[in-house]
Symmetry: C2
Subunit: 356 residues, 2 copies
């Protein structure tokens, strides 16, 4: 995506090229994936004035060839930056200023880069990449819509079958199974948190019985690299009147805060709105209101207290207020929202409190 | 694990303390997990002479309290290093030399560290951490044994039911489902690669029909943080005599190379042995012979051409030779092996060519 725009940024910065790399087959570099569609081991070089190229180890070569980058070079055993140096030299690529995502480049990788490109200076483009990725193209929006549709479908299937699951792990495993068998990825480890576990926003599903009370289900898939993110809270057993009230209280806040999104509004204003509306529950809302969603599950914009981001057309972000009473219970309701002149909910699963 | 030993290393290096951090809820810091058992967002500080402590954001506080570190502090919103600075100051922690895993600390994180600890110097402990983790304690071996036993059980269940699966994705999803419903994690994305896909060692299971021919299944779980790693290659359809021969040829090499492991032998010798035995297939063996396994799926030792590692008691590593003929087929056979005076196979699933 947006390679042309990105090269414009490089030119403006006076950078000769940018390098992104991934050493580890169990991880991926979000920017490399974004620009090339390739998520394996290797490095992506985007020169400001020449054609971009990938280098990949022999074992990953066929995979790299399937990316959107036409030029793919095979590299020496793990000698990433030496290979890049050799290719750059051969292609007469200038290397006075190298653009790096300094939030992804480690100190040791940087040392290796400096060993090869001795006279080069590094310029940070972490922020520029995030800003570029913050505004989605129509193709990205299309992928995100599909991602959200799948997330809806799968979470609904879970909820429909919820009483068949004995443990949190089983329910979480079901979400993953339904995702994977379709050839999709999960966007993050699904959360199924019942009883007092739900008071931990990032609870890891345990191999223990699903307890009575609120049960938070947080889930998302990746479709062609693009994430979705949805949370629904169901109730296992019979909720008291007060429990229903607090759920609907939070739901109303969630819905109102989505509607509050308008062009150029500060994201921090949405957060403030929720915080104020939560009143005495404010102190039990222990995370941000939301985050951008794209090739990573957490991107810009940030919907937090100190965020300087503003709502802009073609942003995709979550709205996910929660109330967590330590050791007691937790509720979170979350949608993935596209902003395009107005807020458009991409996750459409019903938010009425479901009693199981 | 091994905090005491690690503090000894810090003292020797003249470091006042080490810091490990994790900003991202979808990732984890392997060393933080190793030393504390905590894998969420936060930072772990291990002073050379005082008690270690964790800092975690409010939303992760309960999880952090479940770690093996007794002192847990709540931190300011995302202000990791400022929080550490304040706690360090309060506890009169000297900060002349800070030990960092420079293979995990990014340039931007380092800038933040320097902003707080202005006069501090950084010493790299990436290698020391890897070396510490390379030799397993009896507790770690116990976890790894269990991890391998689960991997065996689940891959056997898959193989038994293999003809029920239509697509690679379905088969891979089954492996994950069986893992997750037990409350375990996968050690990495399972690989199910059939037909010509098997010629890509890191093929991503596709939502397409399982093709006839060799099918590579690469899988592992995490038990209490500890990884297992096993690959079996089955045959879908009727193998030719030549195909059976090449499978058994590779199997014999795999078994012989395991037996070759002995105390103080260079790991590169094992790799050389396999390479030589592969003869004309040598050029189709495009990755290392194996890698250490622990809280990360790829650790030390490296069983590669240029490795300087030597086989030592209480190492756990994989032995996984493969033959990959581009666009045609692939075979890999892999076990997780514990070395304790002699090589002990921890993954025990039969390696006879299974015809499905």
């Amino acid at each position: 995506m947006k390679i042309k725009e990105f090269r414009g940024i490089l030119e403006k910065k006076g950078a000769d090229f940018a390098v992104f790399y991934n050493f580890d087959s169990t991880k991926y570099n979000a920017n490399m994936l974004y620009f090339s569609g390739y998520s394996g081991i290797g490095a992506l070089v985007i020169p400001s004035k020449k054609e971009p190229f990938l280098i990949a180890p022999q074992m990953e070569f066929q995979r790299a060839r399937k990316s959107s980058i036409r030029k793919v070079f095979s590299m020496d055993k793990k000698r990433f930056f030496e290979s890049i140096y050799n290719i750059a030299k051969k292609n007469k690529l200038k290397a006075k200023i190298i653009a790096l995502d300094k939030s992804a480049v480690t100190l040791n990788a940087y040392r290796h880069i400096k060993e090869q490109f001795k006279k080069a200076k590094a310029k940070d483009i972490a922020y520029e990449c995030l800003k570029l990725r913050e505004i989605k193209t129509s193709r990205e929006i299309q992928f995100t819509r599909k991602s959200c549709a799948y997330a809806d479908k799968i979470i609904q299937k879970l909820i429909k079958n919820f009483n068949k699951f004995k443990t949190e792990s089983e329910a979480a495993a079901f979400l993953e199974y339904e995702t994977k068998k379709k050839g999709l990825d999960i966007a993050f480890e699904p959360i199924v948190a019942s009883g007092s576990n739900a008071s931990m926003p990032h609870h890891k599903p345990a191999n223990e019985k699903i307890k009575n009370g609120f049960c938070v289900i947080d889930f998302g898939v990746k479709y062609d690299g693009y994430c979705s993110d949805i949370t629904r809270t169901v109730y296992v057993g019979n909720p008291s009147k007060k429990e229903k009230e607090i759920y609907n209280f939070l739901l109303k806040i969630q819905e109102d805060s989505i509607q509050l999104a308008e062009s150029n509004k500060k994201c921090s204003e949405l957060y403030d709105f929720v915080n104020t509306r939560l009143g005495k529950y404010k102190k039990y809302f222990t995370h941000g209101l939301g985050h951008g969603v794209g090739v990573e599950i957490h991107e810009m914009p940030n919907l937090t207290l100190n965020s300087k981001d503003r709502v802009t057309d073609n942003m995709v972000f979550t709205i996910e207020p929660g109330i967590y009473i330590p050791q007691k219970f937790g509720i979170r309701i979350e949608d993935t929202v596209l902003f395009s002149k107005k807020p458009i909910r991409l996750t459409k699963t019903s938010k009425d409190l479901l009693i199981i």
